[in-house]
Symmetry: C2
Subunit: 146 residues, 2 copies
């Protein structure tokens, strides 16, 4: 009914993003990682290798400190993260990934690679490269934490 090219770029970006996310969650659930939610995952993704402060997670995930705290609480209960004192600031604590989270991340990374492979097969090598190039460039003006 609507011509393909009429869709705005936002929708065009969102469609494959959601497809990828759905695939990853399905695979994770199949591997037994079914005890966390998308919202929790979005926070977990942002945790750096040396741990990250709650406030920083909140900013990057674009939620309030309270929300981030709530999600981290649940992740902690489920055994995906630990909170350790920040040696440089006694007010703060660092949220760190636990082994369980690293295992889940491995599974997720595998699926992402798989889907990216499928996309490349569909688009061809040249267009895939162009796509990533354009998106990376776009990040400069759309990602506050670039």
């Amino acid at each position: 009914m609507v011509a393909e090219s009429e869709l705005n770029t936002g929708v065009l970006l969102f469609l494959p993003y959601r497809a990828l996310e759905n695939r990853v969650f399905a695979a994770l659930a199949e591997s037994g990682f079914d005890d966390f939610t998308p919202a929790q995952a979005r926070v977990m993704q942002r945790i750096g290798p040396d741990g990250t402060r709650l406030t920083e997670l909140a900013e990057q995930a674009q939620v309030t400190k309270q929300t981030a705290g709530f999600l981290v609480d649940q992740l902690e209960k489920a055994g995906y993260v630990r909170r350790v004192p920040d040696p440089t600031d006694r007010r703060a604590r660092l949220v760190c990934l636990a082994d369980k989270a690293r295992a889940a991340k491995e599974t997720a990374d595998l699926v992402v690679a798989e889907v990216e492979q499928e996309w490349e097969e569909h688009l061809g090598k040249r267009r895939t490269k162009q796509l990533r190039e354009a998106l990376t460039l776009l990040r400069e003006i759309t990602d506050p934490w670039a």
Copy 2:
């Protein structure tokens, strides 16, 4: 800390999408359309010019009928949509856009065009074309309603 190119394509897709969405919502709110939520907007977006059935909206927005019904209720109360009987099926009703929604859509479209213009300025004409081309192609394997 992390090299740009290390980011997976999913994140790369999501970043500009969210940037665009944020811009649109900010502009809408500024124009007085601050009485609906992102979830409601996602449903409203899917309503066709001649109205669309609730069940169809639910499928396309990837939520249950109940959720879609809830969101449409709120949109109806806020005056964005009307429900009219479906002449071809007495069980069904068509959810139609009201004038208020059309006005909001106009504002939104303007902002989308503006942002797309900015993106094109940053990327250049060639890369923009390549981006849209790749995304449109990708839609074939990622959009169930393509």
